[in-house]
Amino acid sequence: MQAEQESIDTALIDLSDQKYFYTDQQGIEELAGSVGFVGLISPPVLQAKHKGGFRVVAGFRRVSACISLNLEQIPARVITAETDALYCFQVSVADNAATRALNMGEQCSLVENLHNLCGTKEAVSQALEPAGLRVPPALVEKFIRLSKMPDEVRQGVSGNYLSLNTALDMESLSRASAIAVAGVFRKLRPGLNQQREILEGLRDLAGRGETSIDSMLEGPEFSDITDSYDIDRGRRFSLLRSLLYRKRYPALSRAEDAFYRRKKNLGIGGDMDLKPPAYFEDTVYTMILRFSSARHLCSHAEALGRICRHPDLEAILKREIEDTSDLY
């Protein structure tokens, strides 16, 4: 890099010029503390502007920290006004790569900027490689798609509570729905599979055309769960999952409720279990017996005799249809 190290008046640095800005601005106070203690170890990179003054190429947080300390002059490496924008970005990326890994949101903003300069995903990928950041063209394409999504979704990806793939899967949602879903993920911080499950459930429900995802999530049925901050996140997720299930599978939920109600009446002990066929599609039920001695098994045999004569077992096996006339 052709850059002279100079001492620069902080008053001449235009922080509002964000041509090369794509990083998060958190932790400036902590950084100011360390600069105040040991000084600026790694000088920022500035570019001279044609009309005078400087813009930041790399080191927005460092410059902000120095200004917050009221430093009048700081050391900086200065590159000329004529240096092309792509090279400046590469300098910035290389500078960052030396200190920390860029998060997804930062990479997304960076790729968006570079794509405007380079035009193709392959060119973006090639431009980043020498600067020490490997972003294959397929990932560049994903970042470009993400950059077109609402800020709330991008923040979810940067904040690590929304996976990139789930975010892209939300592309087909309306803006309002995407924002509402990102909001739920921010509140519940579900894992990747859980994100998929929630999204698929909401999409299936909205697909029936009765209501949109955002109105559903804003309604009391859902918001009472997602906004109950006195309940821990894991429990709120379970409640949300259960609500989605009941709404997606109303008839199956009724059949399951009836089965478990009747099963309870059978008085099955802890070392026995009766399992229904998957989704009640097949007609074969499974009885599990756990035993540790012949006597124990004999006691199961007695219990089985009682269960076999129980009217609730008959009702279970008859598989009488729960009333679904209100559904269709």
């Binding site: 989704y279 007609t283 269709y328």
Partner: protein, 351 residues
């Protein structure tokens, strides 16, 4: 035949060495499901023309045979299984009819009742517009007495069918659905009233008839609407002429869900209460299927108490609860259908 068809169609023609070139072109499009309908591949059927219906595990299948005249379809039903069955789906018509006729002659020589149809991998009658094949098949079937041909369609392209001389060995069959489903989901197909009118025309020519309520779809008010379809049917059609009526509810391979969501964004059909059934396909939760069948069966039975009703791909529990018996009681589903075909179509296979 290829020249005749291309001359009739008056569309740009391209000769390809290998059908794989066409498959590749279609696969590389953004929407192969639509692209496959915009080309017509005229080619030889390198495999057998007569195949077993693929059926499915765990559910009762009817022992049907497929006469494989072509693939895919020029109409565009949102639920069409062919969109996901072929990779990619391509409209293709097989031109080596000599081979087909040789296989058919062997099929007629079997000493048992045969039921075969052209409407599984395509619609039976769409091809009439480019190369009328139904008339030739009707004629071939009329000259034997062991097998019956079923032409299953959602079109009304029946004017080319012979007025007489068919010997009752060809069954004209229509898939039926509610007006709402036809207009929202069965794009490019004939309306319900027009289908029934075409069936009535065939009835007048003495053809045996069949109807398929398949796929039945669940939505609020569906029971009343399917009942209305049955009413419309029996206002015009004499149950005595009906060889069979099948009932089947919407079921699909899980991959079809994304295809439908992408190709038919306004369709709501994949968002109902589906469970993964024993054969891996998505089906409505069983009690919902049974309820739907029961209500339609009741309506059909009011008008046509003796017509043969059967389920396409359902298990004994559904049969028992919706129809009151299982196929075993009558010697199995295949036997039930054979008997009806023998009676109404006048088959007399040597046993």
């Amino acid at each position: 035949m290829t020249e005749q068809i291309t001359a009739r169609l008056k569309v740009p023609v391209q000769y390809v060495k290998d059908p794989a070139e066409v498959y590749k072109t279609v696969s590389n499009t953004r929407d192969p499901g639509s692209a496959g309908k915009s080309v017509l591949l005229l080619t030889r059927n390198k495999g057998p023309f007569i195949r077993r219906c693929p059926g499915t595990s765990h559910y009762t299948c009817c022992g049907y045979r497929i006469l494989h005249i072509g693939t895919y379809c020029s109409m565009d039903c949102a639920y069409c299984i062919l969109q996901a069955y072929y990779h990619p789906p391509v409209l293709q018509f097989f031109t080596n009819h000599e081979k087909m006729e040789t296989e058919l002659k062997a099929f007629f020589g079997q000493k048992k009742t045969g039921r075969i149809g052209t409407g599984e991998f395509t619609d039976s009658l769409i091809w009439e517009a480019i190369h009328p094949i139904a008339g030739r098949l009707v004629d071939m079937f009329s000259r034997q007495h062991t097998a019956v041909l079923e032409l299953k369609t959602k079109t009304v392209l029946v004017d080319n069918l012979p007025r007489s001389g068919h010997g009752g060995k060809t069954i004209l069959a229509w898939s039926l659905n509610t007006e709402r489903i036809i207009s929202n989901e069965e794009h490019g197909t004939a309306s319900l009233a027009v289908r029934i009118a075409a069936a009535e025309k065939c009835q007048a020519k003495g053809y045996p008839l069949a109807f398929h309520f398949d796929p039945m779809l669940l939505y609020p008010g569906c029971k009343q609407e399917y009942g209305r379809v049955a009413d419309m049917l029996f206002e015009r059609i004499d149950p005595e002429n009906i060889v069979w009526i099948s009932l089947g509810s919407f079921r699909f391979m899980p991959e079809l869900k994304d295809v439908i969501a992408r190709r038919f964004p306004d369709s709501k059909i994949v968002f109902s209460e589906f469970i993964k059934a024993m054969d891996g396909k998505m089906r409505y939760f069983k009690p919902l299927r049974i309820e739907l069948y029961r209500s339609l069966i009741e309506r059909i039975r009011e008008k046509a108490p003796d017509v043969l009703l059967y389920f396409c791909m359902e298990d004994d529990e559904v049969w028992e609860k919706a129809l009151g018996f299982t196929p075993d009681f009558f010697g199995g589903l295949a036997r039930m259908l054979d008997k009806s075909a023998e009676k109404i179509c006048g088959l007399y296979p040597e046993r």
